[in-house]
Symmetry: C2
Subunit: 218 residues, 2 copies
């Protein structure tokens, strides 16, 4: 009882870290305080560990970020898509994507910043290509469509899908409403009517466009 181990941080004390636990903690920080708040030292602190310890589970911070990204989409795109028309399949393909982005808006910058051609993202693309190729789209066209779909999801989260977007837009309403009247009214009306599902309608529009495209070339 000499009180020597009171201060944590015993040098060789095992803490039971795991790559997965590290990634989860990182995602938690990103979700709570944003991507900029994620530093190796803060992550270490959250795990009860010094920063350098993390480097035993991840080669560097970029790899950590890639790992977080991969983790986020792992569950969504490991299982098979349910069957149905290609339109339905495409919808069920896009939904987990936008759901995850809405749940973790902080990772959107990651998707944009990192090349992110990990096996996970490639797997996502492959899965989408299967659906569209089977539906009769030429592969390069199908690839464009996947890009468009991902872009649509990102755009929706960035520009309007994040839950605080109404707040942000509504916040500055006072002064700029007069300069940009339509924007103001659009926000106001949207808040009132509460559209059924914004992403849904945009997705449907795009799918209808694809339909026309398919019937033209087929």
């Amino acid at each position: 009882m000499s009180g020597q181990e009171v201060e944590g941080a015993a040098r060789g004390r095992r803490v039971g870290l795991t790559r997965s636990r590290v990634l989860d903690a990182a995602l938690e920080i990103i979700d709570r305080d944003g991507l900029a708040a994620l530093s190796m030292r803060r992550l270490g602190a959250a795990l009860g560990v010094e920063a350098m310890t993390i480097y035993h589970y991840v080669p560097n911070k970029d790899a950590l970020l890639d790992g977080v990204l991969e983790e986020v989409f792992r569950q969504s795109y490991s299982r098979r898509l349910r069957s149905g028309s290609w339109q339905e399949q495409l919808r069920s393909y896009a939904h987990p994507l936008v759901d995850q982005l809405r749940e973790h808006p902080g990772i959107v910058p990651l998707m944009v910043q990192r090349p992110a051609l990990t096996s996970q993202t490639l797997g996502m693309m492959e899965q989408g290509l299967e659906v569209l190729h089977a539906a009769g789209f030429p592969l390069p066209r199908a690839l464009q469509m996947i890009h468009a779909l991902i872009g649509l999801a990102i755009g929706h989260v960035v520009a309007g899908g994040a839950d605080d977007s109404e707040d942000r837009l509504g916040h500055l309403a006072q002064e700029d409403l007069s300069t940009f009247p339509l924007v103001g009214r659009a926000v106001q009306d949207a808040g009132g009517s509460h559209l059924p599902e914004p992403f849904e309608t945009a997705l449907d529009a795009m799918i209808r466009g694809f339909e026309a495209d398919l019937s033209t070339s087929a």
Copy 2:
């Protein structure tokens, strides 16, 4: 000739800086070496000035980044859209956006990271809303469409529009082609056939979708 002023950096020496010149230099660094390479010290060096000098033209780095973003879209969205059907107007609305993004891919992360509800971006939105509102779309719906359009542009630049995307995808082709055959073939075929204009077709698909939407509700 005592050789006292040999080392640059005379203390009160005017250099002829301007907020605009600062923003231009910042954009140049972003274009050449990427967003991560832009630091106040590097920017200062590029301008022949110490880092702190920049703070006389910009309150902090975030404001600098917002300024760059604003600069990029200033020219594109200061003039009126040319007249025509709303479809044509929408196309002419989207083009400068995607053109600028393709020319300055480094600013895409900025669009995603910063709230970017500057008067510039609001002006962009207002302009788009005018077109769609005049075409008969309800304002909240029109706002969604603008979001979708912006998202589409971003997605295209991020996922496939940047000129090096073929390189990036083609690079890892060797090993992963067998694991993700469709992705490989899609890239290969796309490289061969050189589609006329990838963004064009995606944009058209979305517009067709919007058309169907309009005729339904009208």
